[in-house]
C-alpha cells in the first residue's frame, strides 16, 4: 500500500519544500544583492563622510599651504584600516600631501579627477573637493579596499546557511503536516475508489474532508457512487427480472396444459418477484365475465378470505378489469381509492397495490394476470414492465398449449379412427375365417343333427334318459349352429336375419345355469372358493320374441363374467322381472348381479367395445360386445350398474310380445302326411348324404344320391322325362368343380318346374344378403333340420 500512496505525499512534500526553498533562495539572493548594493553605497557614503571631514579639516592646511599639517590630518585615516591610500591636491592640482607618508607617489593619481567615487577592482576610489565657503582650495583623494564587504558577506553567508538549514528543517516538518491536509482526503478517496473497484461494493463512501475543494470533490465522488449504486441496483433488479422471466419461460415451455402453465407462472412470480397475491382469470367474451382459473399456491389462504376461489366469476364492470380486457396493463398504486367492487374486495383483504396484465393472443384478450401486494405503491415501473412481458410470454405459451391440445385431440381422433379401421379389418378377416370354419362345422354337425332329430322322432321306445340326452344333444347342436351363424357378425354391419321364436326367459335362465354349472360351481370349488347362487324368477314374466341360442349365449357370457369378477367367491344372483307401466306389460328383464370387484368408470365406459378386456390373455374382448350385439338385434336394452369393490349388475330388458304374434309363429307341427317322392341328393360329403338319405328315406321318400355336381347332373339327365324323374333336387352349394349353382342351373334348364333346394354351410349368409342364386327355389342352411326340409318339400311340391 505504501508504494502506491507515497507518490502524492512525496510530490506534495517536494512541492512544498521546493517552493519554500526557492522562496528562501530568492530571498537570500535578493538580500545579498541588496546588501551588496547598499553596502557599496554605505561604503561610499562612509568614505565620503570621512573624506568630507578630512577635507573640511584640510582647508586651512591647503589655504595656508601647510603640508605638514595636511599630512597629520591625513594621518587620521589610520583609524580606518580599510583606507589604503589618501592624498591632497592643492588648488592647482599638484600633490600636496599623501597618506601613508611612505606611499610611492606613482601609486597615486597624478592629478585630481572629477569629484565622486568609483570602484576599481577590489577598491573604491574617490575625489572630494576641499572647500572653504564656496571656494575650492584643493582636492582630497581616498582609496579604500572592500575587505569590509567581504567580511560582512562572509558573516552573512554563515548566517544565511544556518537560516536556510533551519528553514529547511522547519519547512520539512510544516510541509509534512500541511501536505496531509490535501493528501489525506485524496488518499481516502483513493482508498474508497480502490474499495469500489476491488470489491464492486458501491455502498462505501469517502469521509468528509477539511478542505473546501476536496470536500466538493469527495461530495461529487460520493454522489457519483450513489448514482452508480442506484443504477447498479436497477441493473441488478432488471437482470434478476429478466432471469426470472427466462426461468419462467423455460418452465412453461415444458408444460402443455393451461392449468399447469398458470400454476408454474404464479408460483414463480409469488416466490421470486415477489407478490403477495396472484391469480389468473380467463375471459369469456360472450358473458363478459372473468372466471378465476388458477390461484397461486401461496395465495390460496388469502384468496379464500377474498372470496376469490377457483371458478369464481368476476363481472367486468367499469373498473381496471375492463381496461385490461381492452388490452392495457393496469396499475392501481392504491386500490383503496378506487370505488369499484373488485379493487374494494382486494382492499378489504389487505392488498393495496394491484397490477392487472392482459393475456393476449392475436390482439384479443383471453385472460388477465392479477398480481397484488399488501403495501400501497409497491410496484415499480420495472415490476409493471416485467409483468407485461410475462403476460405476453404466458399468453403465447397458453396459445401454444391450446394449439397443442387441439393437435393432440386431432391426433387422438385419427388414431381412434385408425384403430377402428384396423379392428374392422381384423373383424372382417376373422369373419372370413369364421365363415369357413362355420361351413365346415355346419357340414360336420349336419349328420348329428339329422340323426338326433330322426331318433327322437321315430324311436318312441327310447328310454327317458336316452331321450333326455338326445334332447340336450339337439339343443347343443342348435346352439353350435347358432353360434357358427353369429360368427359373421364380427365383420357384418347389417343385422343378421333372426329366426325369432317365442322365448320363455325363465326357462332359458334355468337352461344356462345348468349348462354353466361347471363354471360357477365346480371350478370355483376346486379352487376352494364358494360362489353362492341366488335366483329370483318372476312368475308373471311375459314371453318375448327372440333367438333362444343367442340369448343363451349372452347369458352364458354374462355368467362367466360374473364368476370371473369374484375370484374370492361371492354371491351370484339371477333375477327375472316383468316391468310394468300403467298396468300394461311392457318388458321382460333379466338381471345378473355379482358381488365382485366391480368396474371403474373407464372400464364401464369401454366394456362394450370389441376387443376390450380386463382379463388379459384369457379374454378375447368379444364377450360383452356379442352380448350387446344380441341385445341390439332383439331391440332390447342393456344397462350396467357397477361400483368398484361392490360388484356389478347387468340388465337386459326385452320388449314383451303379444299372444297373437305368438299364435302365428307357433307353426311347427309334429307330423306331416307326406307323399312318397323321388328325390336327388347331391353332396360331396358322404356322411351328410348318408344321414339325409336315412332321414328322408325314413319319411318314405325314394332317394338317389350323387357324390358330386357333375354326377348329380348326369343322374338327373338320365332319368329326366322318365317315370323315375325326380320331384325334388337337394344340392350342396360348395362342391369341387361343379358347384350347387351349376347343378341348379342344369336342372332348371331341363325341367324348370322341378324345385331345387340348396343346402349350404353358408346358408345364413346367403339368406341375409339376399344372395339366393338363380334357379334355386329354397336355401336351407346346414345343419339341415328334418322339420325344415319337410316344410320346404311340402311347400315346393304342393
Amino acid at each position: 500500500m505504501a508504494p502506491d500512496i507515497a507518490p502524492i505525499r512525496k510530490k506534495l512534500m517536494k512541492m512544498l519544500l521546493l517552493t519554500s526553498g526557492i522562496v528562501l533562495l530568492f530571498t537570500c539572493a535578493s538580500f545579498f544583492a541588496y546588501e551588496f548594493l547598499t553596502f557599496r553605497q554605505s561604503v561610499v557614503r562612509q568614505l565620503d563622510t570621512l573624506a568630507q571631514a578630512i577635507a573640511s579639516n584640510s582647508t586651512a592646511a591647503l589655504a595656508f599651504d601647510n603640508p605638514d599639517d595636511a599630512r597629520s590630518i591625513l594621518a587620521a585615516f589610520k583609524a580606518d584600516p580599510h583606507i589604503v591610500a589618501a592624498a591632497l591636491y592643492d588648488q592647482s592640482g599638484a600633490l600636496f600631501a599623501s597618506y601613508p607618508e611612505a606611499l610611492a607617489t606613482n601609486s597615486l593619481p597624478a592629478t585630481p579627477e572629477i569629484t565622486g567615487y568609483r570602484f576599481e577592482g577590489s577598491h573604491v576610489v574617490g575625489f572630494e573637493p576641499v572647500r572653504q565657503g564656496n571656494k575650492q582650495l584643493g582636492t582630497l583623494f581616498v582609496k579604500s579596499d572592500l575587505k569590509a564587504i567581504q567580511q560582512r558577506f562572509q558573516l552573512y553567508g554563515l548566517i544565511m546557511t544556518l537560516v536556510v538549514a533551519l528553514s529547511a528543517v522547519l519547512a520539512y516538518f510544516v510541509s509534512y503536516r500541511q501536505q496531509s491536509l490535501i493528501s489525506r482526503p485524496i488518499l481516502q478517496l483513493v482508498e474508497t475508489a480502490r474499495a469500489v473497484s476491488d470489491r464492486q461494493d458501491y455502498s462505501v463512501r469517502a469521509g468528509p474532508a477539511d478542505t473546501f475543494e476536496i470536500d466538493l470533490l469527495t461530495g461529487a465522488f460520493n454522489h457519483m457512487l450513489t448514482q452508480v449504486q442506484q443504477s447498479e441496483a436497477r441493473l441488478r433488479a432488471q437482470m434478476s427480472r429478466m432471469s426470472l422471466l427466462q426461468q419462467i419461460t423455460v418452465a412453461i415451455g415444458d408444460r402443455q396444459d393451461l392449468p399447469s402453465i398458470f400454476q408454474v407462472v404464479l408460483r414463480s412470480v409469488e416466490e421470486n418477484l415477489p407478490i403477495d397475491f396472484g391469480c389468473i382469470c380467463l375471459y369469456n367474451a360472450a358473458t363478459q365475465t372473468l372466471s378465476v382459473s388458477t390461484i397461486g399456491a401461496a395465495s390460496r389462504s388469502l384468496s379464500a378470505s377474498l372470496d376469490l376461489i377457483e371458478q369464481a366469476a368476476l363481472p367486468v364492470d367499469g373498473n381496471g378489469l375492463s381496461q385490461c380486457i381492452q388490452g392495457r396493463l393496469v396499475y392501481e398504486p392504491d386500490v383503496r381509492e378506487i370505488q369499484f367492487a373488485f379493487p374494494q374486495r382486494l382492499a378489504r383483504g389487505g392488498l393495496y397495490s394491484l397490477v392487472i396484465a392482459p393475456l393476449m393472443v392475436e390482439s384479443s384478450v383471453f385472460g388477465v394476470l392479477i398480481a397484488a401486494r399488501r403495501a400501497a405503491h409497491a410496484f415499480t415501473s420495472g415490476d409493471c414492465e416485467f409483468l407485461q412481458q410475462l403476460s405476453q410470454h404466458v399468453a403465447l405459451a397458453s396459445h401454444q398449449a391450446q394449439l397443442n391440445s387441439a393437435l393432440q385431440n386431432a391426433y387422438d381422433d385419427l388414431r381412434q379412427s385408425q384403430n377402428t379401421v384396423m379392428q374392422q379389418e381384423r373383424l372382417r378377416a376373422l369373419g372370413q375365417m369364421a365363415s369357413g370354419i362355420a361351413h365346415d362345422i355346419n357340414n360336420a354337425i349336419s349328420p348329428i343333427a339329422l340323426y338326433t332329430e330322426s331318433l327322437l322322432e321315430r324311436e318312441p321306445n327310447l328310454s327317458q334318459r336316452a331321450r333326455s340326452s338326445l334332447t340336450t344333444i339337439q339343443r347343443a347342436i342348435d346352439d353350435v349352429a347358432g353360434t357358427v351363424a353369429r360368427m359373421r357378425e364380427f365383420y357384418r354391419q347389417r343385422e343378421p336375419q333372426l329366426t325369432l321364436a317365442l322365448v320363455d326367459l325363465n326357462r332359458i335362465v334355468e337352461q344356462v345355469l345348468e349348462l354353466t354349472h361347471a363354471k360357477w360351481y365346480d371350478l370355483p370349488q376346486q379352487h376352494g372358493v364358494a360362489i353362492e347362487l341366488r335366483t329370483e324368477f318372476a312368475t308373471d314374466l311375459p314371453g318375448i320374441m327372440g333367438a333362444e341360442g343367442e340369448i343363451r349365449d349372452a347369458l352364458t357370457n354374462l355368467i362367466f363374467n360374473a364368476v370371473d369378477a369374484m375370484p374370492e367367491g361371492g354371491i351370484l344372483t339371477l333375477r327375472t322381472r316383468a316391468t310394468r307401466a300403467s298396468g300394461d306389460v311392457q318388458s321382460a328383464r333379466i338381471e345378473i348381479t355379482d358381488t365382485g370387484v366391480g368396474m371403474d368408470e373407464e372400464t364401464r365406459r369401454r366394456c362394450l367395445e370389441p376387443f376390450f378386456t380386463t382379463k388379459g390373455e384369457r379374454g378375447t374382448g368379444l364377450g360383452l360386445a356379442m352380448v350387446y350385439g344380441m341385445v341390439q338385434r332383439h331391440s332390447a336394452e342393456f344397462e350396467i350398474d357397477s361400483r368398484v369393490g361392490h360388484g356389478t349388475t347387468m340388465h337386459m330388458i326385452f320388449p314383451a310380445y303379444t299372444q297373437a304374434f305368438l299364435a302365428t309363429t307357433r307353426m311347427p307341427a309334429t307330423q306331416f302326411t307326406q307323399r312318397r317322392l323321388r328325390m336327388l341328393l347331391v353332396d360331396d360329403d358322404p356322411l351328410i348324404i348318408k344321414a339325409m338319405q336315412d332321414a328322408l328315406g325314413a319319411d318314405g321318400h325314394l332317394i338317389t344320391v350323387a357324390g358330386g355336381g357333375q354326377e348329380g347332373i348326369d343322374t338327373f339327365l338320365r332319368v329326366h322325362g322318365t317315370e323315375e324323374a325326380f320331384a325334388v333336387v337337394f344340392t350342396d352349394l360348395g362342391m369341387p368343380r361343379i358347384d350347387g349353382r351349376r347343378v341348379a342351373e342344369s336342372v332348371k334348364r331341363l325341367s324348370p318346374d322341378t324345385p331345387v333346394i340348396l343346402l349350404t354351410g353358408w346358408g345364413q349368409r346367403m339368406l341375409a344378403e339376399n344372395d339366393i342364386p338363380p334357379h334355386v327355389d329354397r336355401v336351407l342352411s346346414k345343419p339341415p333340420r328334418l322339420q325344415e326340409m319337410r316344410i320346404a318339400i311340402r311347400e315346393l311340391t304342393e
Binding site: A60, A63, F64
Partner: protein
C-alpha cells in the same frame, strides 16, 4: 564614459594651464592669498561693520608690497555676502574701518600706534614683521624654510572679539604675548 573622460581631460588641461600661468608664485602673491583666506577662517562680530550692507574691507597700512596682486586675488570676491574692498590706509584713524589690516614690516615703527588705536576694535591685524605677534599683532606671517608660517596671538584676537577658526589655529603657531596696552 568616453564623454566623462574627455571632460576630465579638459578640466585637467585647464588646471594645468592655469598652473603654468601662475607658476612660481611670489612671496606677496602668496601673502595676498593668505590675507584673503583669513576672511574665511575668522569670524567678525556684527559690531565690526558700520551697517549690515557695509563692505568687507581689507586694508594695507602704509607700504603696499602687493602691488596689484591683492586686488587681483580678491577681485569679484565677497565675504559673507559683503563686497570685498581693498583699501590703502595711511592714517591710523582710518585703520579702524578695516576688518583686516595688513601692516608691512617696514611700518614696524608705527605698529604700536596702530595697535593702540585699534585697541579692542574688531580688526584682524596681520603683519609680516618677524615678532609681530609678540607685539600684539594677531597674526604674524613668518617665513620659515621658504614657507610662510602663521603665528597667531590668540589673546589679541579674543580681545578684539574675533573668533579664529580652529582649522587656522591648527596650521598656525600660537604665540603667547601680552596684549598691548595691558
Amino acid at each position: 564614459m568616453g564623454v566623462l573622460r574627455v571632460l576630465a581631460a579638459l578640466v585637467a588641461a585647464t588646471v594645468l594651464l592655469a598652473g603654468s600661468v601662475c607658476a612660481a608664485p611670489s612671496e606677496y602673491q602668496v601673502k595676498a592669498v593668505f590675507l584673503f583666506n583669513f576672511s574665511r577662517f575668522v569670524e567678525w562680530p556684527p559690531s565690526a561693520f558700520a551697517s549690515s550692507d557695509a563692505p568687507f574691507v581689507i586694508g594695507v597700512f602704509g607700504y603696499d608690497p602687493f602691488g596689484n596682486q591683492l586686488d587681483e586675488t580678491t577681485r569679484g570676491e565677497t565675504v559673507n555676502g559683503r563686497p570685498l574692498l581693498i583699501r590703502r590706509v595711511h592714517n591710523v584713524s582710518d585703520a579702524a574701518d578695516c576688518q583686516i589690516l595688513f601692516v608691512h614690516a617696514s611700518e614696524a615703527t608705527r605698529l604700536d600706534g596702530i595697535l593702540a588705536v585699534l585697541n579692542h576694535r574688531s580688526t584682524l591685524t596681520v603683519s609680516d614683521l618677524d615678532d609681530a605677534a609678540r607685539h600684539g599683532v594677531m597674526i604674524a606671517l613668518a617665513t620659515q624654510e621658504k614657507r610662510i608660517r602663521l603665528r597667531v596671538n590668540v589673546d589679541s584676537a579674543r580681545a578684539a572679539h574675533l573668533t579664529i577658526s580652529s582649522k587656522l589655529l591648527r596650521s598656525a603657531q600660537i604665540v603667547d604675548a601680552p596684549v598691548s596696552g595691558d
